[in-house]
């Protein structure tokens, strides 16, 4: 047999989508799985050591050649800047679907506090989310979940790779901390807000937000 590493390298390049270890083993049948994994690890390490512009990354349950993030600026020069990045609304909707799936539209809306028809549609079209079925509840609402493409696009090995949401676990714990004593103090402070300060604030809001948007195109 040829050098296992070389075969794995070729298979990964030739594969249309991230190539699972199991598939590599299936192709190389007869070779021990740990041996395959060793060869793969060595291969990956080789690209790291050489500080190559490309690397083998584990995404969506498989291995794939990807360019390094530092190369993005050069590749953009080659391909031109392409539109189609996600809006904040789409990203928020996607985050809720990703962490809460399976989830129905009404639940997403109760978290975001706004109608999510438009971002949902966009995410479906981009194949980042998919219809998983229907909920057995009045109206049989559609259940949404993320796709494999979601993992590929966001460079995730699997859903468990999503960063944990620290804040969410704290919510339930800290709920008891609300106390009523503040009610009085509250009414007192009301007078301090003046009409003028609001105008100034709004313009502040605008400049704050606008500069934020500038950073993330």
């Amino acid at each position: 047999m040829d050098n296992i590493s070389a075969v794995i390298e070729a298979l990964i390049l030739a594969s249309e989508s991230p190539l699972p270890l199991e598939k590599i083993c299936a192709v190389l049948n007869g070779v021990d799985k740990t041996e395959v994994k060793d060869a793969l690890d060595k291969l990956i390490a080789g690209y790291e050591e050489r500080q190559s512009g490309i690397s083998i990354q584990e995404v969506a349950g498989g291995f794939q050649f990807r360019t390094r993030p530092q190369m993005a600026v050069w590749i953009k020069k080659l391909k031109g800047n392409r539109p189609g990045s996600l809006s904040p609304a789409a990203l928020e909707t996607l985050a809720i679907v990703a962490y809460r799936q399976p989830i129905v539209k009404a639940e997403i809306e109760s978290v975001r506090g706004v109608d999510v028809s438009a971002p949902l549609k966009g995410l479906l079209e981009k194949k980042l989310i998919r219809i998983m079925g229907r909920k057995d509840a009045p109206g049989k609402p559609i259940i949404y979940g993320t796709t494999k493409k979601f993992l590929e696009v966001f460079n995730l090995r699997e859903l468990a790779d999503l960063p944990t949401m620290r804040e969410l676990t704290e919510i339930t714990e800290q709920q008891g901390m609300l106390d009523l004593e503040t009610a009085e103090e509250d009414t007192g402070r009301q007078e301090t807000v003046t009409q003028e300060s609001i105008g100034e604030q709004i313009s502040q809001v605008i400049s704050d937000r606008f500069s934020e948007d500038d950073i993330d195109p």
Binding site: F65, T67, R68, P69, A72, R82, G84, P88, A89, L91, E92, L94, A95, I96, A98, Y99, V111, R112, G113, V114, D115, L124, E125, K127, R130, I131, K140, T147, V153, F154, N155, L156, L162, P163, M165, E167, L168, E170, I171, Q174, Q175, M177, L178, D179, L180, T182, E185, D186, T187, R189, Q190, V193, I198, G199, I202, V205, I206, R209, D213, D216
Partner: protein
Amino acid sequence: MNEELSTDYAIKLDIFEGPLDLLLYLIKKNEIDIYNIPIALITQQYLNYIQMIKSLNLDLAGEYLVMASTLIHIKSRMLLPLPEEPSEEDLEEDPRSELVRQLLEYQAFKEAAASLGQRPLLERDVFVRSSALPEELINSRADDDELIEASIFELIEAFHNIVSRLDNKELLEIDLEKLSLTDIINDVMDRLMREKNLTFEELLGERKDRRRIVYTFLALLELIKLKMVKAYQTAAFGVIRIFPAVEP
């Protein structure tokens, strides 16, 4: 202010993702403890913002008004004096707690969304091989048991495309009932193909709940109407046997 300037301003004002986002902004702006929101202050600022949007004749999503009324409601409840000896229930029921829960939850997801957006994104930060290899140019059709990659969304879209090409409104009348009926129709036809003929009882099998009975009956009516099955009876009030209309 000339026309161009004012529309520019309008666009910039549309910067919040919804009422919760606006509230979070106000909380941050005022350096307020989210667990102890001075509701009067926040309500005031929130209403001022809405007023501002309205005075600029901008569209304001209905959700903003719903939140405004929620805030006013919470504020009025906060102003009610506590009973002399507040019961445990009174203490637990801070009128703000539901709002705080919502805000925290929304804030957490907003952060999660931001951290998702900062990941190395495909086609933004990282790229995969995008030119075809020689072997891909040869269209290799595989065996007939090949896998199929398609999502329901593609399927519905395909159907939607067809429907939108037609004037036939009747085609739009597809609802859940028809579809679950279709499941039963499929089932009935399957079993008839296998067993040649069956009684209504046999068709029902083990599952004799009312829903099942009604649906099976409706399925049979539909199949008879479509001339896909025939029903025979040996005598009046005798057992009804169902046959495929045409031998397979």
